[in-house]
Amino acid sequence: MKKTLHIREGEGAARAKIVVHMGTCGIAAGARAVMAALVQEVEKRDLQDVLVNISSCAGLCSREPMMTVEMAEKPPVKYVDMTAEKAVEVLEKHVLAGEIVKEYALTTGNERVM
């Protein structure tokens, strides 16, 4: 079951997972447009190994819309103050070219749970 959470390993593995944070705060700040742009771009480029999914509020409501990009075997990177254009730029630079877009990135790594 764990594998739906993480990027699959081995043959046919996804290279990246993009999570758009869609709590009320994110949606109010424009997360739907970010999500739509990403889905459209992934379809247009036929990126079958890039997963786009939703999650809820990441905590920092004042910097929504937020988005987390997790490349295979790399710590997740949180992007803040996203727009449709910025999200596509992150898709191109970070997901496809492997360069973190530092201008929009807030932080990398996971939160302390427990």
Binding site: G23, T24, S55, C57, S62, R63, L106, R112
Partner: protein
Amino acid sequence: MAHRCHVIICTCTNCISNGALKIKNALEAELAKRELEDDIRVVQTGASGLCVNGPVLMVQPDGIFYQRLTEEHIPNLVEEHFLKGRPVKSLMYMPAGEDTPIPKLRDIPFFKDQRLIALRNRGLIDPDSIDEYIANDGYKALAKVLGDMKPEAVVEEIEKSGLRGRGGAGFPTGRKWGFCRNYAMKQRQENPDSACYIICNADEGDPGAFMDRSILEADPHSIIEAMAIGAYAMGGTHGYIYVRIEYPLAIRRIHKAIEDARQYGLLGDDILGSGFSFDLTVFEGAGAFVCGEETSLIHSIEGMTPEPTQKPPFPAESGLWKSPTNINNVETWANIAMIINWGADWFREIGTETSPGTKVFSLAGNINNAGLVEVPMGITLREMVYDIGGGIPYGKKLKGVQTGGPSGGVIPVSLLDLPIDYERLKETGTIMGSGGMIVLDEDTCIVDLAKYFLKFTSDESCGKCSSCREGAAALYEILEKICSGKGEMSDLELLEEISYAVKDASMCGLGQTLPNPVLSSLQYFRDEYIEHIKYKRCPAGVCKKIISSACQHACPLDQDVPCYIGLIAQKKYEEAIKVVRQKNPLPGICGRVCTHPCESKCKAGAGGSRAINIKALKRFLADYEMQKGIVVDISPKPANGKKVAVIGSGPAGLSCGYYLGLEGYEVVIFESLPVAGGMLAVGIPRYRLPREILDYEIEIIKKAGVEIRTNTKVGKDVQFEEIQTDYDAVFVAAGAHAGLKLGIPGEDTPGVMDAVEFLRKVGLGEDVEIGSKVVVIGGGNAAIDAARTAKRLGKDVKICYRRTRGQMPAIPEEVEEAIHEGVEIEYLVAPVKAVAAGGKLAAVEFQRMELGDFDKSGRPRPVPIEGSRFTTEVDTLIPAISQAPDISSLVGDGKLAITKWNTIGVDTETFYTGVEGVFAGGDVVTGPDTITTALAHGKIAASMIDKYIKGEQLTREYSVTRPVRRVEAVELTEEEIETMTEAEIPVIGVEKRELNFDEVELAFEEDAAVKEAKRCYRCDLEVEESD
């Protein structure tokens, strides 16, 4: 022995020549001092490739590079990085072209101190995917209790954990479960089919609280799982999630989650084959605040009017449809599965003794990082506001924190170090509540805030108890009256009396707590209530009916700012300057050097935008008057034969003399210096205030019938007692011309010269001998003035300030210009010793500071960093830390009251000293303050002196602020609205400022002034006279 981390230091030739070995020794010494040598190992290595930035350090396994280190950096670096685990960003290496390295999540303050239990899956899983929840240990706790635990063991475990109700009251959850289980079991003995209900209270209603919504949206299964566990433990037969209809996304997600859980056999009959059955219904509440109260909530589900009923019987005994019922808040439920999975002991280790675990807070209001945070109980408010919250936006000051919403209260800045748990908050007069935390900055009016909450609770009172229904309305009305400037002092006692009555006589929590915002604000901010009632002032600039417009209200001279700005927008400049002159005798001076408190409250400047440049607009008008030769109409009343003496010709003296002159008094100003103007002439450098402007304004003052006798020192050239006898009244406005000492050894060495003395000598055109390495100490306007003046004399100048730039009291634009002109500013350093050689100053020893705890003013206190002393070659040291009055020659027969700050004590309302006929005002009373304050003192003193001489009672009347006349707003064109930007003030180039004292700032061109004036919101037009 394993080391926690390695510090790799480059000791190549290059780095050694840059001092790498010294760094290494300092580092090892510091680590030993901190007893960290077993944790941190220092390793030497060869060329790192970054040696041009040497000496460099690399910390592994963190992978952080520090560069350009000096020995002074080491103590701070060790403390921050190795002791506190906070990498020092300012010293980190950054590749060219990048100014923001992306930090690790657990290094950034917002996330670092958070510990997620209730919010464990936030932002991590897809809330619509039960598979993702399960993959993250979801439903494991349910499987555990159904498989391995007896129901009573579950209750016991929760009780042992010490978990307390997160809805606000903090009742121990395990005990609540125990009661419900006992009643359910008792009833079941009589009737095996009897019902027991499990309810999740998601009727979140506190303004500013949104954690329940967020949990339901982010992790709905965590609630379903917990409720099933609770039902198993208590014998629950059915559950309700009571959620307000305003949360559509939460409702949609919880519905989907329930559907999925049923499909997976995690809800419904025979869950996981255990024989235990339980199902859930989502009940959508209409959003009444009182439904957060459990008996009201139960009645709402029953289809009755949501009104509370008397307890006991508690819901555990007789709740929903008279069956045993347990209600817990969303966040309480969200903790349950984690406690089952990890055990009560684990949970107890987090948080405080009496309040174990974490608490979710919604951080809102005037805070940089607004959002939802989960932190261990016991964290301090300071950590919440400054570390996690990232401080207050736009450089504003923190005023307090409102917790517990309409049922809570305001915690003032003085209690910022309070550890947050249920008991401590209660002791301060507030409550935890559901965890709403509204951060308030200086622009929040406390009375208005209390009024807001009372409006809310009086709307939301269900009306069952008259104490609550009528009491809330009565409290609201009194607050409204105070906010309109119509309050009376007796209202304060009335507020308290009603508050206690409402508390005592109301049945449910809503009524019992609704007076809290009033009581706690009265406890901590009583002065602000008195300001509203007695002085008709709203210091925050909020209460519309008192302030009219915030700029006018903030001006000590009550200048009709929106009126004259409105007239500039209409290009009626002559009318506009007349409006200015009605209340300000020195517009050309104020237009140049006023500290413009009006702009700090300007609504156009709210939220980080640029305020209207009010000061520059005033200057534009003053210059217009001067250049066009507009005659200022001064027509004093006929001479009344009475004489008033004024000591000192600074702004306070000039203003007092001017207004008395207009009333027909014969006024003589005694000035000890050869020039008139006080600090305007000898404190403020000419590049900010040219002498011809000062002369022009003083000439106008003289026209009112004021004589100024320069070179006449009271106490020397003329005796104070003589003046007292010869004149009907005396106004002492001698200013504060004595620089304060630093209090360090060697301060009397030649080469140390106070800023006041230095500026005075330069202002009077005397020869001043200063060296070529000048250091100014201080962060106020005097420090900046002294530094820019020394720079103009062709010297190398550095300012050393013990705090940081954001805390400098100097006008920010002045600091900016000083930097432009090449003045170096070093922050967080303080002098400790002046070192002499050959009878002259040769060097100064400094100590580095860091910001520590907050002082009473809400600023962090600078505290010395141990072992951080260093010595710099200095030949002229100019202390500019503050000034005090020099009243030795005035004290005379010792009748005047002298305060411990060496100022003259007066009645703060009338400026009367208590000595027959003697009044005092300006800096001699306040210590160094602004020109506008001094002008205001002079004007008020003039009216008091007038009353005194006429034999009237010395009382002041206060009234709410209103514009002097109505000026219509100009219609803006579409294009003007679209292209609206702030007008820039022209300044002369830095290269043209060398070695001269020419005025730096120039006036607005006409077009720019009109453009700027059109940006004004004209707040004055919002208050009609009928108000």
